[in-house]
Symmetry: C2
Subunit: 258 residues, 2 copies
Amino acid sequence: MSSKKSSAARANARARRKSLRLHGTIARDLGVLIVSGRYKPGDILNGEIDASDRLQVSRTAYREAVRILAAKGLVESRPKVGTRVSPQARWHMLDPDVLSWIFEFEPDDNLLANLFELRKIVEPEAAALAALRRTNEELEAMEKALQGMAAHTLASEAGRLADQEFHSAMLRASGNAFIVSLTSGVGAAVSWTTIFKQRHNPLRRDPIPDHQKVYEAVKASDPKAAHAAMLNLVELAQLDTTNSRKPKVAKTATSARS
Amino acid sequence: MSSKKSSAARANARARRKSLRLHGTIARDLGVLIVSGRYKPGDILNGEIDASDRLQVSRTAYREAVRILAAKGLVESRPKVGTRVSPQARWHMLDPDVLSWIFEFEPDDNLLANLFELRKIVEPEAAALAALRRTNEELEAMEKALQGMAAHTLASEAGRLADQEFHSAMLRASGNAFIVSLTSGVGAAVSWTTIFKQRHNPLRRDPIPDHQKVYEAVKASDPKAAHAAMLNLVELAQLDTTNSRKPKVAKTATSARS
DNA sequence: GAGCAATATAACTCAGACAATTCATGGTAA
DNA sequence: TTACCATGAATTGTCTGAGTTATATTGCTC
């Protein structure tokens, strides 16, 4: 009876996503529910027939969504018991999708601090490695990206792309596939989810000089300087992010007990 | 006509895996083919009907396997073009499954070095954080695990479990969910895939003293000592791994051209 | 009370059809 | 010639409904 309505609802639901397939949107929705705590570790999701009924989708689509979540460590499903939300320790917290789901809903302050803590550990070391191993080709890519950042401002899409490319080239220069995977995924997820938050905060320092320092240290094959410059860059990013998140609660000291 | 035979083949194929489902074994097999280079980035996998035909499985099972691989960044599929192997930069190299697939077949020497490079960056810092933030409860867990390692040797299953528990408790004490996810996944995947390699190498140093040092530094809330002790531990692990990998080709210089 | 067999329940797998997406081709107009 | 637009074809995406398999629970036996 409601076939027309449900069909329209499905089309609508898909339209508001970028270009994800149906199973992708379901995985994303369930993933957000899990990482946001709406479903808690140990909880058992509804059965396949039940869940696919409610979502008005076929069991196929729902199952493929569950496979995606299982591949990211968020759930585990077994016959006779069902699909259970895994303990947080098993989640692949650094998976780019999981990361974006975490920071999409309520970027928990503590988690945000933890993430920057990790970045401050890894990225400076990556810069130091890049200073030791960079090739001329990667150096040129960094320089070109730097010019791109200068030409277009960071407020434009092209400018942000140049920024991404700068960091990407730097990571490539580190010559470590695992560091590349880790940092690029983290950086992309964080920047993606923080763009819209910073729209309302047009007050931004000029990022060029800080990037320039990293570039010059890498060019000079000076790992210590590269380490310091990169650490500074990450700390500035953290400042920008936290400032944009709580612009006025800074003075209320009582709220910072925890 | 070959229904009986194919059925037996399927049962056999499933039996040699641990407890993975059909889609899990397919994902694993395809994943190994990809990370080992048999399928190269840019390559397009056979169509779903074709591939599921060859593997003697339904399209459903094959598709769920592809979803798993896509969730780990190994492939990307679009209508009309097919399922294409993603460039290595998009792979989720730190996903525990991807990691185990990488080191299952031919643990490329360079990659192995890269992985230990990352561990030497992160794990000592994690130990330092643990020294600052550990609770008494986590301290007790570490101590109990240490006793377990002493009671059973590392050659036994119980001993290895105690070792895992020691590192797990240490990571929990670091209080950083991202570091926990990163390091536990890496450590588990590496130890899992290197166990059988070290079976033939019974020559193992006593690991207790080195672990003891980490424990005492964390107990004393001494981050610098914890950092040093943990770095030492990782370096020893690297030594053990590389030694067990090439125990006798060291002298035959000609075989190391490549 | 401990161990073992039957059972029920969930995920798992299969088969076949239809729909949606997107690249490629060719035709048309500027 | 070039740019643009409809058309077609190939592939993944989605749906339906059925049967199979694994496993926690229950109940029985010893």
